[in-house]
Amino acid sequence: MAAARREELSRRIKEQKVVVDELSNLKKNRKVYRQQPNSNIFFLADRTETLSQCKNTLDELKKAYQDMENSQKTEIKK
């Protein structure tokens, strides 16, 4: 179960990394749209704002992953 969670987290982290890279590589005049969850509608969003938001989520995910690994290591040690 812990392994599943770890894999899930790692997958998410990869996705976020991709998003951040893409957003940072956009030209200035490009529009960014954000999808409404569970629907097919895309709302216009500010590029810089979304970039910053995505970066934040990435950092959070990385942190969680780190914490999980730390806790497992501590368990094994015990």
């Binding site: 749209y33 409404q36 969850p37 569970n38 509608i41 895309f42 709302f43 216009l44």
Partner: protein, 508 residues
């Protein structure tokens, strides 16, 4: 297959718990899946709420409008405060953004409730799952605890609920399985096995008998149906029909019985055979009283033998055939004179078309009058429209007598000629207006002599000519013989109608 009996003790059977017959571990995993699903739903609702709260802030939004599953168009979202909410079952409600927020909140409440229930279930089963896991670990580790296992070798009992096939309609009942099990348990019991085989043989024999009975039943039904159709045409008595119906009922009942009795079947066939005879007996009885015990059907033969005289007496619409004594005497006399072989007196031995007309003879004033038409009943002949009156009949009788004398004088008189005479009398009733010039056929000639002679219309008409096959013409000829004799000087060469002749006489 072995079962871990210790697991029975620690946890209840899956059927007792409410979680669809699953072991605790399975319950836990299913709960976890559900919880994840509901959590996603809740997060979606949260996002929606957020969007709805900020939606009325702007008049319009730039969006990518989806059309189709894969294509988008840049567009604007307008009327940001009007929200159409799906209530379920294709019902929608139009409300403002705030009201939609409230609706979403209400739904979230339900989702939370479901999540809480699932969490509780999971907790309950987690403890059990842990306990079983611990037990298994302990049993594996320690040697004191031993699992009580029972190995069942025979898998026949396990296959009870397997795919079933329908039995055949007349198959023997299935021999129960525990028979064999007993054999296995008790060892070889030769006596019982011997009995078993003999029973099988008996069953096979019974099946064969049943099949034979079915075949015979079909065969018997065939003539029975033909018989019934034949009977419908004739005037059958009710008793006979009832009897047949009863037999049919009994026979069909027998068919239904799977194990038919062979003896019964034989007796039924005998009854049917008897009935066939009886039906024919009745059939012939209707036609001929004298035909006792004769099973043949009246048929028309074409030969030159002496046939009996049969007279048909009209009784209004219903006509019955009865044997005429007079005719019988005449026949006997003729037989003695001719010395021909005895024909069967019982049947209306119709051998020539002339015989048909001889057969259909009426009784008028005690005398036998040939009928105008075999299709018409007697009542019609006595009607006003027809020309048949008793006076005329009397005249015809005289003529008939004369003709009979003429005919009987001939030594080689055959029945056919007399039949012709009778026919003429019949025909003359309807054909007074057409005097024909055909020569009369005297008693010397026979019908169907085999030779065809051309008629000479202008010849002196009294020479006996062999008659053509057509029965109508010679009859009129013969009848008119006297009249023709009398009228001969008047009509030497050509035909003239009676009225014209009368007119001519008047003019001259």
């Amino acid at each position: 297959m072995s079962r871990d009996l210790h697991t029975w003790h620690c946890c209840r059977s899956p059927w007792e718990s409410g979680t669809a017959g699953l072991w605790p571990q399975q319950v836990v995993t299913s709960c976890q899946e559900k919880i994840q699903h509901w959590k996603k739903v809740e997060s979606d609702y949260d996002a929606l709420q957020e969007r709805l709260r900020t939606l009325p802030d702007k008049l319009s939004y730039d969006i990518m409008v989806p059309f189709g599953p894969l294509a988008f168009m840049p567009g604007k979202l307008v009327h940001t405060n009007e929200v159409t909410v799906l209530l379920g079952d294709n019902w929608f409600s139009k409300c403002s953004a705030k009201q939609a927020v409230e609706l979403v909140e209400h739904r979230k409440k339900h989702v939370r409730k479901a999540l809480d229930d699932l969490q509780k279930v999971m907790k309950n089963f987690e403890s059990r799952a842990e306990f079983t896991e611990d037990l298994q670990k302990m049993s594996d580790a320690a040697g004191e605890f031993v699992d009580i296992r029972e190995e069942i070798e025979d898998d026949s009992i396990e296959t009870k609920g397997k795919y079933r096939t329908a039995h055949k309609p007349h198959s023997k009942p299935k021999v129960s399985n525990f028979f064999e099990v007993d054999f296995a348990a008790n060892g070889s019991d030769t006596k019982s096995t011997g009995r078993f085989q003999s029973e099988e043989e008996l069953w096979a024999r019974l099946e064969e008998l049943e099949r034979q009975e079915e075949l015979l039943g079909e065969l018997d039904r065939m003539p029975d149906t033909a018989e019934t159709t034949g009977e419908d045409t004739t005037s059958s008595e009710e008793e006979k029909e009832d009897k047949r119906r009863d037999l049919n009922g009994t026979y069909t009942a027998e068919d239904c019985i799977t194990q038919g009795n062979f003896h019964k079947e034989v007796t039924n066939s005998d009854l049917f055979g008897g009935q066939v005879n009886g039906s024919t007996y009745y059939h012939s009885d209707d036609e001929d009283d004298v035909d006792v015990g004769d099973n043949s059907v009246p048929t028309i033969f074409f030969s030159h033998t002496v046939e009996p005289k049969r007279v048909r007496i009209n009784t209004g619409k219903n006509t019955t055939l009865k044997f005429s004594e007079k005719k019988e005497e005449a026949k006997r006399k003729r037989k003695n004179s001719n010395g021909n072989g005895h024909a069967t007196p019982e049947l209306p031995n119709i051998k020539t078309p002339a015989d048909i007309y001889r057969v259909f003879v009426d009784v008028v004033n005690g005398e036998y009058v040939p009928r105008k038409s075999i299709l018409k009943s007697r009542s019609r002949e006595n009607s006003v429209c027809s020309d048949t009156s008793e006076n005329s009949a009397a005249e015809f009788d005289d003529r008939r007598g004369v003709q009979r004398s003429i005919s009987c004088d001939e030594a080689t008189q055959s029945d056919n000629s007399e039949g012709l005479l009778e026919e003429e009398e019949e025909e003359e009733e309807g054909r007074q207006q057409l005097p024909k010039k055909l020569p009369p056929s005297s008693g010397t000639t026979e019908a169907f002599s085999g030779t065809v002679v051309e008629k000479e219309p202008l010849s002196p008409s009294f020479t006996p000519h062999p008659v053509m096959a057509h029965p109508v013409l010679p009859t009129i000829l013969e009848r008119k013989s006297e009249e023709v004799l009398s009228e001969a000087p008047e009509e030497p060469t050509k035909r003239i109608s009676k009225f014209k002749a009368a007119r001519m006489q008047q003019t001259t």
